[in-house]
Amino acid sequence: MDLLWLCVLFITLLVMRFPIAYAMILTSLVSLWADELPILNLSQKIASGVDSFPLLAIPLFILAGNLMNTLGVTERIFGLANVLVRHISGGLGHVNVLASLIFAGMSGSSIADAGGLGAVEIKAMNEAGYPPAFSAAVTAASATIGPVVPPSIAMVIYAFIAQESVAALFLAGLIPGLLMAALLMTIIMFLCRSGSTAPSMPRATMTETRHAIRRAVWPLLAPIILVGGILFGIFTPTEAGVVVVFYVLLIGSTDARFTATDLACAIRDTARTTSATLFIIAISMIFGWIVVVKDVPDLILTFVSGFADSQTTVMLFIIVTMLAIGMFLEGIPAQLITVPTFLVLAAQYNIDPIHLGVVVVLTIMIGSLTPPVGLVLYTVMATTNIRMITLVKALWPFYLVLLTATLLVALIPSIALWLPTLVLNN
């Protein structure tokens, strides 16, 4: 069956409000029938689609994020970021970015950041007198750091598709994540220069700082334990997830407010989010198989060869394609559909798959902020009750900053590759 018709069918099913996973199954089924391929593949490929050890990291990192939000660890992180940078021009905007960066070191999900830590950040910024749209925009933009800095669910999924090392991808995301944070803080400082957007905040006293550090020192050790444990081979990236879960439980259980209900809530939300994510991954196995049977990677390669003569052009093509797809599809299905094809392009043009992975995750994160389909955008809208158009207007400078970060990482491979090369080659 013609590829174009399959695309039209898939889009039509999405418009009809088919859940994405079922739209994928139906498109695959029609393709199997049309090409007279064995339909038995459907149940076999779906059933064994998620039987993979690296994928176990997904529920664990989701649970770690949920536990941090329900057990009050998030407030401790915010408290520390608050005393450290609130006095700089841009005040709580910087606190927001720094808190998200620390949170990102323990959780791999932008949704956990936007929905949990984001609520704390937005409340504090609104109470301090920041315009609600600005608070929401900073929160949404800073939440995208989560899946870039290790640990990262998006990186685990990329590693699963590309059959690459999760540890190398985690390391490759570290510097780009720091770059994103630095660029976001720069634009916040620039936007708040007039002082009308950002009320000035007093420098924290020594007592305040000491108290905040004492409360946050244990959460701060988590990223060090996590990355250190993976690098020194003490545990695998998947096992790192369970270490973080127990570590967060240990920190959270010292809080007087800790209850068994909180724990049950976190597990319940984890079950919900994980099954929604992994069901799409299971279904995508059949979808991905059909993409290969249809020679889509070769078709794209032929198309790109027509105009691309360098890695730069191919990277720009990948970024533009991912941004366009990211506007209409959620990150995971977007990755599952496109990455197999991009890997063929990468192999042809000598692009390192780890470098490609970081660029793909960065563009997916921009996609999560762009309408009409952007999960981070929706999460922040739900937290703030701000209309989409207002939030998107406030987000414009941040889109440019995130795009700049993506282009820098895409065009200068060493930003992503220096650390994994240095650490893993030694």
């Binding site: 009809m16 088919f18 059933a47 319940r268 069901f279 009409p372």
Partner: protein, 171 residues
């Protein structure tokens, strides 16, 4: 007729609650088995044998059982930004079409699973000694059967001109 639909809906609610508890338990099992694996290997120098597979099997069960429970609460990811394009009447017809189509696809998968059941029951997989059917196909089968029941519930609601109850609590 209305009483029948309400009774059927209650049965679906009970099934969905059971699936949610099962999904909850699989998350606990994943955390405990991997936690035990790390503890026993590094703290007690006593590697455990089956924890990897137990966690992986739990993940497969979580995926499919959770997906069915998620279907009951309309929790699967959809692209709903274009839903305002259609009138209420058209939206209802589209929703019925979606439910019927999904039920049809799932019935097809159920038939396929039954066709391969005897073969898959003979194939043992991994060190746990369980059959491939129990590890992979049984959770998919349960998920498909439950989702078809939820499809029928949704179709009954839509035919009665009622909205499908949305955002039901996961547990």
């Amino acid at each position: 007729m209305n009483k029948c639909i309400e009774s059927y809906s209650s049965i679906c609610q009970i099934i969905a609650t059971g699936l949610r508890y099962l999904a909850f338990l699989t998350v606990v099992l994943i955390v405990l088995s991997l936690g035990a694996q790390v503890c026993f290997r590094y703290l007690l120098q006593l590697p455990l044998e089956h924890t990897d597979e137990l966690a992986q099997t739990s993940l497969v069960w979580l995926t499919f059982i959770g997906a069915a429970a998620l279907y009951h609460e309309r929790g699967h990811i959809t692209v709903d930004c274009l839903s305002d394009l259609f009138s209420e009447q058209i939206s209802r017809y589209l929703a019925i079409t979606v439910e019927v189509t999904i039920a049809f696809i799932l019935c097809l998968i159920i038939v396929q699973i039954f066709e391969t059941q005897s073969v898959m029951q003979r194939v043992t997989y991994g060190t746990l000694g369980l059959s491939k059917f129990a590890l992979h196909f049984l959770p998919l089968l349960i998920s498909c059967l439950a989702t078809v029941l939820f499809n029928i519930e949704a179709i009954l609601f839509l035919l009665r001109n009622d909205a499908i109850p949305a955002n039901r609590r996961f547990i």
